[in-house]
């Protein structure tokens, strides 16, 4: 009797224990509802399966560090018109009408030859206050930043010297396969000046899963944008690109007819600006400089050609070029144009699956682009891989287009991605060449190049021998 009762107790105890064990570990053994039907991420991808790029960027603002968020009081939308309003009166308007404290760095302004009474003319309709501050500061070549509830307006130099600490969470980057050390290399090689450069001031440290960066607010915003692009890379994305530049690229691709019959170059440029509606600014030109290349007569008669190629045709013989800068097309010397570098992120997941392949791609780019990578300029161009599948490049927009064309040439163009294909701007200017005393063995490729008199001539693309 006792024996049977005892064995029943043991059986009950064992079954209760079993039920509890099942309840405790059920989660580990039963498939979660949300994972059913999803492919195992470890499933190897076939080499011929090209990666799919997201058709629409995911909003990255959720990741924006607190320090870079625009304070709510600057989100107020305002409408109105300022006509020749002194800067100091604008500061009073901000304080009295918008209840935002603004401090003017009077000493800094004076150092740049500006006064607190600089006239402001601005017409705005439902524009947030931060946008209005951007517009005003852009026009006066000033910077503004927000600190402890106060907006400070100062010079670009002073703003660059004002360092802020921002911490970026790397946890999701590590989950996406990025190595913190390689991320740091990509950031320091392509953005800002750093203590390691010797003359820089910024510093960057990793601690656990966070990245601590001490830099100017401008560079912090660029770093945030770079990290945002790295989260969701596309075929190619310019970091810190302006909306107006996208519009200008479209205009530069449009065909135009031109007939120039000996008018000075600056007039030809003005005429093109008028015809296309694109804002063009000539850097470093004064109308009374008779020896200036901008006074060279231009003779050209061409049918519908992309606007960009017409520009190259009239500028290149004078050793001039153009770049997109501050919402305009800026015409400048070739040398200066080669210093106007921008950062772009490339999704190269179809070409590079490991460090070895990334290294081969890097060497190919450097081999194909010749002098474009030589480190003898104000800004050093760079190619980095924060992970083998993603490439970050600091180069001129012209070289970026060449890189994209090169990548496409190697790629099955029809099957790459499901997003819209990026159109490059057609150019006629040659790749940067080596100085005569540094001539490298090259293979020549020929093409057509229109001179100022409209006569087509051969041009040479330099290619380093493999």
């Amino acid at each position: 009797m006792f024996g049977s009762l005892f064995s029943r107790d043991v059986a009950l105890l064992a079954s209760a224990f079993l039920v509890l064990v099942v309840l405790m570990y059920a989660d580990d053994y039963l498939p979660a509802a949300s994972t059913v039907g999803v492919l195992n991420p470890e499933t190897p991808v076939r080499r011929d399966e090209l990666p799919r790029t997201a058709s629409k960027p995911i909003d990255a603002d959720v990741f924006i560090p607190v320090e870079l968020r625009i304070p709510p009081q600057l989100m107020t939308r305002v409408s109105g018109e300022f006509t020749n309003m002194p800067l100091n009166d604008f500061v009073k308007w901000m304080r009295d009408e918008q209840h935002v404290d603004v401090l003017l760095d009077e000493d800094g302004l004076a150092e740049e030859g500006l006064s607190i009474d600089e006239p402001i003319t601005e017409r705005i309709a439902r524009m947030p206050l931060h946008g209005l501050l951007d517009n005003i500061c852009d026009k006066l070549e000033l910077e503004w930043y927000h600190e402890n509830g106060i907006v400070k307006i100062t010079t670009e130099i002073k703003a660059d010297e004002t360092l802020r600490i921002v911490s970026y969470n790397l946890a999701d980057f590590i989950d996406r396969g990025y190595q913190p050390y390689d991320l740091i290399t990509s950031i320091t090689a392509t953005l800002g000046r750093w203590e390691v450069d010797g003359d820089g001031v910024g510093s960057i440290n990793r601690f656990k899963e966070k990245l601590f960066v001490r830099q100017s607010l401008k560079v912090q915003h660029e770093i945030f944008k770079l990290l945002s692009e790295l989260r969701f890379p596309h075929e190619r994305t310019f970091v810190n690109d302006r909306r107006q530049h996208v519009v200008l690229r479209e205009i530069l691709r449009r065909p135009v007819h031109v007939i120039f019959q000996g008018e000075p170059l600056h007039q030809a440029i003005a005429s093109l600006s008028h015809q296309t509606g694109a804002a063009i600014q000539i850097e470093g030109w004064c109308c009374d400089q008779s020896e200036s290349p901008f006074n060279t007569p231009v003779r050209l008669k061409v049918g519908p050609q992309p606007f960009s190629q017409i520009l190259d045709t009239i500028l290149t013989p004078q050793n001039l070029s153009w770049v997109l800068k501050d919402d305009e097309i800026r015409v400048m010397t070739l040398e200066d144009a080669d210093d106007q570098m921008v950062v772009a992120v490339y999704d190269v997941g179809d070409k590079c699956r490991n460090e070895r392949e990334a290294d081969i791609l890097k060497r190919t780019l450097k081999g194909q682009m010749g002098h474009a990578w030589v480190d003898n300029r104000w800004i050093t161009p760079a190619v980095t891989f924060p992970k083998p599948e993603v490439m970050v490049v600091l180069q001129t927009e012209f070289i970026h287009d060449k890189i994209l064309e090169l990548l496409r040439h190697e790629r099955m163009s029809n099957s790459y991605g499901n997003g819209p294909r990026i159109e490059t701007v057609p150019r006629l200017r040659p790749l940067p060449s080596y100085p005569k005393d540094e001539q490298q063995p090259v293979a020549n490729a020929t093409g057509m190049f229109s001179l100022s008199d409209g006569t087509p001539e051969e041009f040479v693309i330099r290619r380093r021998l493999p």
């Binding site: 009762l5 009950l12 209840h99 404290d101 402890n148 966070k210 601590f212």
Partner: protein
Amino acid sequence: MNGSPVQKDALLLGGTILVMILLMYGDRLWLESPVNSAVTTLSEPKVIAESSSVRFDVVGIPQQLLVRVTYDFDETPLEVIVKRIRDETQIDLRFDIPALEEEGIDSNDPVTIDATDEPLYLFLNRFCRPLTLTWYEREGVITLTTDFKSETAFHTVNYNLAELMQDGYQPRELIDVIKGTTSGRWDVEYGGTIDTHGETMIVTQNDKVHFEVTNLLHKLRYLTRQTFVFEPPEHEFLREKLKQPVHVSFRDVPLTDAVAELSRQADVQIRIDIDGLEEEGISYDDPLKYELSSHALSTTLDLMLRPLALNYILSDNVILVTTEITTEETLNTAIYDVRDLCGSSTDERYLDRLIKNQTDFSRYEAQYGMSIYGSYWLPEDSGKIVFPIIGVMVVRESRSVHEQILDVLTRCRADE
């Protein structure tokens, strides 16, 4: 009486399930241990106190100097001030006449100073500093002597390390932390000496350094997020006042008047280091123009002072507006409980590098190139980070750098 077998089975099953539930969730049901109390000791779990992030107190002050006093002396001779203190507090307070004479200080020199219900030792510190005097206590007698004489008057004190060693501190590391983060000089020619014998540390130094060593060893046992080693409790009040909002509308107002207005609004003592400003050739009469709505006193002071190459420090119960150089030279020592961030010496190296790169650590040293040790005329006091034990960081730096360090550590701990 015995119950049916079914009842027994049900009871047994119920009891078993109860035991299992207790085993599974017991840790959540027990009353939480007091890890969130204001101060934790090393033996407690690695949870850094949230409620009291900063701790102020001092040990080693003679009991008689803790008496609170209120004075208002205007151009009063030194001798008269000392006599009044002696009469009112019954403290045996004396001048070291030969030392004062050697420095050319006359006990009849007039002094203007006031105090409102504050400990006598803070009043004495403030009274002595501009006169390059200091005080020390021997057998109940308080003597006012010159800085020079005090700095060279070494005596030996034995410190018991038993409790610290029980907490895991090693004598070698304690010597390093004392040498690195107090103001004492330890060079063979002019410095003091420090040694350990078993659980006793034998230190030969001047009074000021002994005071620092006493406080440092005491506070290493009681950790918070930031513990200032030599700051009096009154500075906690000043730090609270710095957060208080003030409104300014200065139109061509001299700095002295502007500071007086801020002092009135925040109801706190703010003073200007006139001698320091004059030494650096900084004018305090230039008109200021500021219109700001409600912002913290610290923010307003920063905005006003930075363009003038000025800053502020907390000094003996007042907010003292002084030159940037003085601010950077005035170093405090603070202990940081970083057990939640550092579990190994590798973590310590990363944290050390993080703080040195991401703050203005040793900025003064870097700017002015004054980091050469061994030359006695150069400032031997410079920024320092020492980890006497894994998870405890002791830093000697200026007020603003300590603020930056606390900010960096807060970011390290943040979930974002």
